[in-house]
């Protein structure tokens, strides 16, 4: 706990990190309150299409090719991006912890095998594979999360493994082993809590990557069509880029801001958790 408190202390002193945190919290607020703050039903079509921003007070950021409100789309898109980002990062972190801890704790042949397996997943071009899976198996929200999560765990696994490797022979683990604790208990109750800080850093950065990946799939027309998503909006914008810049600029900025927010928080946590960087005095 003191460790987390120390991280929080350093984190608070970093302006960029706090800025990132504020961005993330603001985005979460927008996502939660979407129905209350969106001026229009994001799916409602109308004949007032290609309205530029400001041309009509009802549509502050203009309308798209089907006369849908761009602002409402961006607001509702926050939900999709955050949900996919968080859920996919949770999935990948979970898998990463599972594989990394077993690998690092047991070492030896188990480790060698699991690391080969991890390397396999690192070598397969992730985006290409995600594209194929989603194109062939369908692009519901659940599938997006699963695909992104399942393809993104190796980073977390490697980190958890190396942390476990450095912990496995520490005195407290040895004494636990001597006193007859089960492997399960040692892994999940004794060691795991000690390596939470670096895992959180990786998980936060994974959120950013997952959001980018979801948007990229959406750009290829492979997002969930039942929801308004930023990637999906950009996909339609591509056909109208020469006439309706606002269809591209606003959803794209939303992605950039969100990813930036999570990256800043991740960087801040990383520096706060890593005292060596403190001494260096290097920011990002």
């Amino acid at each position: 706990m003191t460790e987390l408190r120390r991280i929080a202390y350093y984190f608070r002193r970093k302006h960029f990190a706090m800025f990132g945190l504020i961005l993330v919290l603001a985005l979460v607020t927008v996502a939660v309150l979407a129905p209350h703050i969106a001026p229009n039903n994001p799916h409602a079509v109308s004949r007032d299409r290609f309205l530029s921003p400001g041309a009509d007070a009802r549509y502050p950021l203009g309308t798209d090719n089907l006369g849908r409100c761009v602002l409402s789309g961006v607001i509702y898109g926050t939900r999709v991006s955050l949900f996919v980002g968080l859920a996919a990062a949770a999935t990948s972190t979970f898998i990463g912890i599972l594989i990394g801890s077993i690998s690092g704790y047991f070492g030896g042949k188990t480790d060698a095998f699991l690391m080969r397996f991890t390397e396999l997943f690192m070598t397969i071009p992730r985006f290409v594979l995600a594209l194929i899976v989603v194109a062939f198996f369908g692009s519901g929200l659940d599938r997006l999360i699963l695909v992104i999560g399942v393809l993104s765990w190796p980073g977390a696994a490697r980190l958890v493994r190396s942390e476990f490797l450095s912990h496995r022979n520490l005195p407290y683990v040895d004494s636990g082993r001597v006193s007859g604790m089960s492997h399960l208990r040692l892994i999940f109750v004794e060691i795991l809590p000690n390596i939470i800080p670096p895992v959180i850093v990786v998980a936060t950065l994974d959120v950013a990557t997952a959001i980018l990946l979801e948007a990229s799939l959406g750009f290829f027309g492979l997002g969930d069509p039942n929801l308004r998503s930023w990637g999906g909006m950009l996909s339609r914008a591509q056909s109208h880029i020469r006439t309706a810049w606002w269809m591209s600029v606003f959803p794209g900025s939303a992605i950039a801001v969100t990813v930036l927010g999570f990256n800043l928080v991740g960087d801040g946590l990383n520096e706060a958790a890593n005292p060596r960087m403190q001494i260096e005095g290097g920011s990002t």
């Binding site: 396999l120 194109a135 062939f136 290829f220 992605i255």
Partner: protein, 330 residues
């Protein structure tokens, strides 16, 4: 290098890594093959136009592409073929996959290599300047640029570049490989292609410039604060010489890391950028092959990209080991 104290020579290390890669490649083939072949949908339907096709025709096509055999047989046949360097015959284009992919690969590589060179040069320069004048406005700009640049999706930066340079200013073509009608020759042809490359390369570079800047800067600062540099400075060696002699050597490692370990991201990035800019490379081919259910081509692309990633990782590891002999070859 051989016989150094590390216990294993560089060559043996490389050989060992290559041997280790073989099961990796086999695993990749199996995973890709199963995934693609177990997907719902029948590739034959993509081949027969939009009128009900004669049953006899469907049978013939199925037989011709070996789709009438069981999954296991097909997998074994495929692995056997790959071992002989045979990637099969494209369903969609009716030419050998290898030929098809290699033809497109050149165009993608031009884009990727230019990006890597350009991004490394810019990122290195920016990172060095930022480290040299730490905390100056330039440094703040570099840090900000690196953070923001890292957060912008490539396809969106591509759209923005089109908006600015092709639509608004009209300086550069928004898409394609070269001008269609005017058959440029010699130098003019290269010039024409280069003009078409500028925007895609810029879009693709942003993320790598950001990464390189960041890592160059932080590793330079680390080096410049290290004891031996401080000592050198007190001996009166000029700052610029210190920077070049010590700093850059320190920066070399992270840059190799970026090129090596982020290679897969460049692959993904080029698929996106090729779509935005209509660049007829492997990325486009892959996207078209998904639509056309062209299993052999998809498998071929996945395999070749994976092998490329393995090779680049291998080279990275070896160069890494070469530059920094402290790394144990294990």
């Amino acid at each position: 290098m051989s016989g150094s104290g590390a216990g294993m020579s560089l060559w043996r290390y490389a050989a060992m890594r290559i041997v280790q890669s073989l099961p990796l490649i086999l695993g990749i083939i199996v995973i890709n093959f199963l995934l693609i072949n177990l997907a719902p949908g029948d590739p034959v339907t993509a081949l027969i136009g939009d009128f009900p096709a004669p049953a006899e025709y469907i049978e013939t096509v199925r037989e011709q592409f070996g789709l009438d055999q069981s999954l296991g047989v097909r997998l074994l046949t495929y692995i056997g073929n790959v071992l002989q360097g045979e990637l099969g015959f494209s369903f969609n284009y009716r030419v050998p996959v290898l030929e098809l992919v290699l033809a497109r690969l050149g165009r993608t590589l031009v884009l990727m290599i230019t990006t890597i060179v350009f991004a490394t040069a810019v990122g290195l320069g920016l990172g060095i300047m930022a480290a040299k004048w730490k905390d100056s406005p330039l440094d703040k700009f570099a840090v900000g640029f690196a953070t923001v640049g890292y957060s912008i999706p490539v396809f969106w930066s591509g759209q923005l570049l089109i908006l600015l340079f092709a639509v608004r200013l009209g300086w550069l073509p928004s898409s394609g490989l070269r001008s269609t009608r005017v058959a440029y020759e010699g130098l003019a042809l290269y010039g024409d292609m280069a003009r078409h490359m500028i925007l895609p390369v810029l879009a693709l570079s942003l993320r790598y410039i950001a990464l390189t800047t960041r890592l160059t800067r932080s590793s330079l600062i680390e080096t410049l604060n290290s004891d031996y540099v401080v000592a050198a400075r007190t001996r009166g060696i000029p700052a610029t010489r210190i920077l070049w002699n010590h700093g850059l050597r320190a920066a070399a490692t992270p840059i190799i890391t970026i090129i090596g370990y982020h290679f897969t991201f460049i692959v993904a990035g080029s698929a996106l950028v090729e779509t935005v800019f209509g660049w007829p490379g492997v990325g486009r081919l892959m996207y078209e092959s998904i639509g056309a259910r062209d299993y052999p081509t998809l498998l071929g692309i996945l395999l070749m990209v994976s092998i490329a990633v393995i090779i680049v990782n291998l080279i990275t590891d070896i160069v890494y080991a070469y530059i920094d002999p402290r790394i144990k070859y294990d």
